[in-house]
Symmetry: C2
Subunit: 352 residues, 2 copies
Amino acid sequence: MIKTVEWTNEGVSMLDQRLLPTEEKYLILRSYEEVADAIKKMVVRGAPAIGVSAAFGLALGAKQSVGTSIADLEFDFDYMCEVMGSTRPTAVNLFWAIERMRQALRRAKEKTQDVEEAKQILVDEALKIYQEDLESNRAMGRFGGELLQDGATVLTHCNAGALATAGDYGTALGVIRGARDLGKRIAVIADETRPFLQGSRLTAWELSKDQIPVTLITDNMAGHFMKQGKVDAVVVGADRIAANGDTANKIGTYMVAVLAKRHNIPFYVAAPVSTLDLSILTGEEIPIEERDAKEVTHVRDQQLAPEGIEVHNPAFDVTPNELITAIITDRGVAREPYTQSLKKLVESAAVA
Amino acid sequence: MIKTVEWTNEGVSMLDQRLLPTEEKYLILRSYEEVADAIKKMVVRGAPAIGVSAAFGLALGAKQSVGTSIADLEFDFDYMCEVMGSTRPTAVNLFWAIERMRQALRRAKEKTQDVEEAKQILVDEALKIYQEDLESNRAMGRFGGELLQDGATVLTHCNAGALATAGDYGTALGVIRGARDLGKRIAVIADETRPFLQGSRLTAWELSKDQIPVTLITDNMAGHFMKQGKVDAVVVGADRIAANGDTANKIGTYMVAVLAKRHNIPFYVAAPVSTLDLSILTGEEIPIEERDAKEVTHVRDQQLAPEGIEVHNPAFDVTPNELITAIITDRGVAREPYTQSLKKLVESAAVA
C-alpha cells in the first residue's frame, strides 16, 4: 500500500513527491510550519492529501503548543489555521479539513478543561480524517468501478491516485482500482500533465507499482487518441466542485473534457463529498492559483525557454457541468441536474 | 534576419535548433549524409525548412559525386534521394523538394553532357527552392496579415516561424509578421508544444528576438485562456495538407482546433502550396511519424517517468477540414470547400 502521508510518533511522515519517480524518500515533518511548507512546495499535492496533511499539521501544532490552558491552545490554534489556510487557495479540502479541526476544538472546549485532553481530541480528529479518507476512496472505487466496462481504456489527467490522497486507492485511480477489484481488465492512458508532470512522475509510477497497464502520453496527444477510438472513458479527480457541478481540477482538465464531449466519451469526476463546496453556486467563483513561471520555463535545472519570457501558469481550470457525465463520490454517483443531486449527497448520511 | 539554413562555400550552414534557446550555434554540414542526419535528428525541423535543407543536401551530394558522366551522377543522385527521403515521413515538402531536384536533373540531362554543368544546374535549383521559400513566406504574410485584427491576441502551436522555413518570416509567424507590417499590434500566446518544446524553445525565442510580445503557456492551458476570452485567433503551420484540406501538423494541433471551434475562434493554417498533397484525398492517408519514447520520458538528461514505462509518441496529428476557417497559402487564401479552392490555387500561376 502506498502511504502518502502518515501520523507517526516522530511527526508527520510524508512521501516527497517532488523526487518521484526516480527516488522514493519519506520526510518526517516535525512542526506545523514544516507541514504547511511541504503543502506549499508540493511535497504533497492532490486535494484529499492536502486535507489530511493539513489536519495532521494542525494536530502536530496543537500537540506542541506550550499553552497551559484551553484558551492558550485556542489562541495558538487559530494562528496555525491561518498559516495552514494560506498555503494553497484552490483545493477546498484544505479549508474543509481546517474547519473539521476547528469544530473538534470547539467540542473539546465543551467537554474538558484539560489542555492535554483537548490536544488528544485534536490528534484523534486528524486520525479520523485520515481513516475516513482511506475509506471514502474505497467507497468511490466501488461506486465508480461499476461504471467502467471490462476491457476499457481509461484516460486520466494529473494524479488523482493514492498519491493525491492519504494513500492506498486514490479517487480517480480508486475508480480504476475498484473496476479491477470487480474483475474488469482496465488499461490506462496517463497524460503527463505539464508543467508539474504529475502524470508521468506520479500516475505512471503508482500504476506501474500496482501492475495496472499504463501508457504515457503528452497532454496534447489526448485528442489524437480519442479520434482514433482508443479511449473508452475519462476519469479525473477534483480540487473543488461548485454546487452546480462545475469542477476545478488540474490545468488541462477542461481541454480533456471538451475533447471527450466531441468524441462522445463519458467524462467522470471522482471526488469525496469533502471536495464539494456548495457555498458557491458556479465554478466562476473558484479562486485559481497562479504558480511560479519557473515551473513552465525549467524542468529541474534545465532551462527550456528564453530568459525573461512572459509566462502564464494557472494551476487549475474549471470544467463546466455540461461536460461532466457523472460525479462519483464516496456517497454515490451524482448526475445532472447536479444542483439537486449533489445537495442530496451532502445531506445523506456518511458511508459507515 | 534569422538564417535557419544557408548554402555556403564550405557546405550547408544550419542553425542547431536542438540547442536553442540557450545556445545559438551554426553547424557546417559537409556531405549529403550529414544533412540527412541533421533532418532526422531535428537539428532542423518544420516542413518548409526540411524541404530547403533536403534540396541543399542533394545539391551538395551531387557536387561531391565523383562520377565522370551524367549517368554516374544520376546513379549516385538516385541513391542520395532515397537516403534523404527516408529521414522523416510526414512533411510532404521533403518529397516535393526531392522531386523538384529530380526534375532539375532530368532537365540537365536534356540540355548537356557535361557533368559539371549538370551539377551546377542542381545547385542552382536548390538555391531557387531556397529563394522561393523566402518569397512565399512574405506572400503568406501579406495574404494572412489582412485576416488578423489590430490588437488581436493570436495563439500558435509548435514553431511555424523563421526557424521552420529557410529563415526570415516563416509561415504561421509570417502571418503575424505580415499583420505587424500592416501596422497592426499583435500579441502572441505560444503553446510550449511537448515533447520537443518547439514553442518554448523556438517560437518564444524568435518572437522575443523580433520584439513581438509573446506569452508562453503549456499546451494544456490553451482551452482555459480561450474560455476566458483571451484568444482572438489561432494560426498554425502544416506538414501536409490533403486535397480536402485535412491538415497534418505537430501533435496537439487537433486539440487546439477542437477548442477553437468550441469558442468560435477562427483557426487558420498557413502553408506554402508545396505543403499541399493533392494526391491524397483525405488526412486519413497521411503517414504519422512515431518518434523515440525518450522524447517524452526525458528532458535532456532528466528522467521524468518511471524506467521502462510504455509511451506513445506520434509527432503529428490530423485536423479535419471542418475545423479550419481558412488555409493561407503563398498564392492566396483558400476556404471551404477546400477540394475546389486548393485545386484552384495549385493550378494558378506561382507568385512572381
